[in-house]
C-alpha cells in the first residue's frame, strides 16, 4: 500500500512526457493525498501506542 504513491507519481511523469498536463496534475493530487493519508495513519498509530 505504501508503494502506491510512487507508482501514481510515475504515471504523472509519463503524462508530463506525453504532454497531458491535466492527467499529470490529477495523478499528483491522488498520490499526494495518498501520502497524507499514510502519514495520518502512521501518526495516529504512534499516538495510540504513546497514549
Amino acid at each position: 500500500m505504501m508503494s502506491a504513491p510512487f507508482f501514481f507519481y510515475l504515471l504523472g511523469f509519463v503524462s508530463i512526457l506525453r504532454g497531458n498536463r491535466l492527467a499529470a496534475l490529477c495523478l499528483w493530487w491522488l498520490a499526494s493525498l495518498f501520502v497524507l493519508a499514510l502519514f495520518a495513519v502512521h501518526a495516529s498509530s504512534v499516538l495510540h501506542i504513546t497514549l
Binding site: S3, F6, A31, V46
Partner: protein, 180 residues
C-alpha cells in the same frame, strides 16, 4: 531574470532533488540502511516537489507548478519534523546512520526548507508569467532529468513493495519482507 535562465534554474533544482533521492537510495542499497515508513513518505514528498519542477519544464513556467513544488516540500518538512520530534527525547535513540553529523531526517527537513525558500524566491520574478506561454517541446536534457526522476520513483515503488509487501510498513523494519 530571463525565462530561459529560470528554466535552467528549474532544471538545476530537479537535478538536485534527483541527487538527494539517489543518495538516499544508494545508502539503502550499499550500506543496507533500510528506510522506515516516515523515510519512505519523505522520499514521496521529494518526488512530489520534483513534479512541480518537471511541470515547469514540460509545460512552461506557471505559478501553479511552483505551488505544486512548495506543497510537496511542505509534506517533506511535516514528515521530517514528526520524525525529528520522535527522536528528540533523550534516550529514544535515532534511526539510520548519520551523515556529516546529522541524521537523514534532519537533512531532509533542511532541504525541504531550502526548496520552499527557493520556490518563494522564484515566484518573486513576476515577469516570467507575463506574455505567451511556451509551447515549445522541452529540451532533451529536461526530458532526461524528468526520465531520471520517473526512474527513481519506479525504483522506490519496487523497493517499498519488497520491503513492506502490500500493506503498511513495520515501524522499525529490519529486513525486506518479500526477499529471502
Amino acid at each position: 531574470m530571463t525565462q530561459a535562465r529560470l528554466i535552467w534554474l528549474n532544471l538545476l533544482g530537479l537535478l538536485a532533488i534527483c541527487a538527494v533521492l539517489l543518495f538516499a537510495f544508494a545508502d539503502q542499497i550499499i550500506y543496507g540502511d533500510i528506510p522506515c515508513p516516515l523515510c519512505i513518505l519523505q522520499r514521496a514528498g521529494f518526488i512530489a516537489a520534483g513534479t512541480g519542477l518537471a511541470l515547469n519544464l514540460g509545460f512552461g513556467i506557471r505559478p501553479s507548478h511552483y505551488a505544486t513544488m512548495i506543497l510537496g516540500a511542505l509534506v517533506v518538512a511535516g514528515v521530517a519534523t514528526r520524525q525529528i520530534l520522535l527522536h528528540i527525547v533523550p534516550g529514544t535513540g535515532a534511526y539510520g546512520n548519520p551523515f556529516l553529523g546529522l541524521h537523514f531526517y534532519t537533512w531532509s527537513f533542511i532541504v525541504s526548507v531550502l526548496i520552499i525558500s527557493g520556490g518563494a524566491i522564484l515566484l518573486a520574478y513576476d515577469r516570467q508569467f507575463v506574455g505567451q506561454r511556451s509551447t515549445k517541446k522541452p529540451r532533451r536534457v529536461a526530458v532526461l532529468a524528468m526520465g531520471l526522476l520517473a526512474l527513481i520513483s519506479a525504483a522506490n515503488g519496487v523497493s517499498t513493495v519488497l520491503l513492506c509487501g502490500g500493506g503498511l510498513c513495520p515501524g522499525d523494519p529490519t529486513h525486506y519482507m518479500l526477499l529471502p
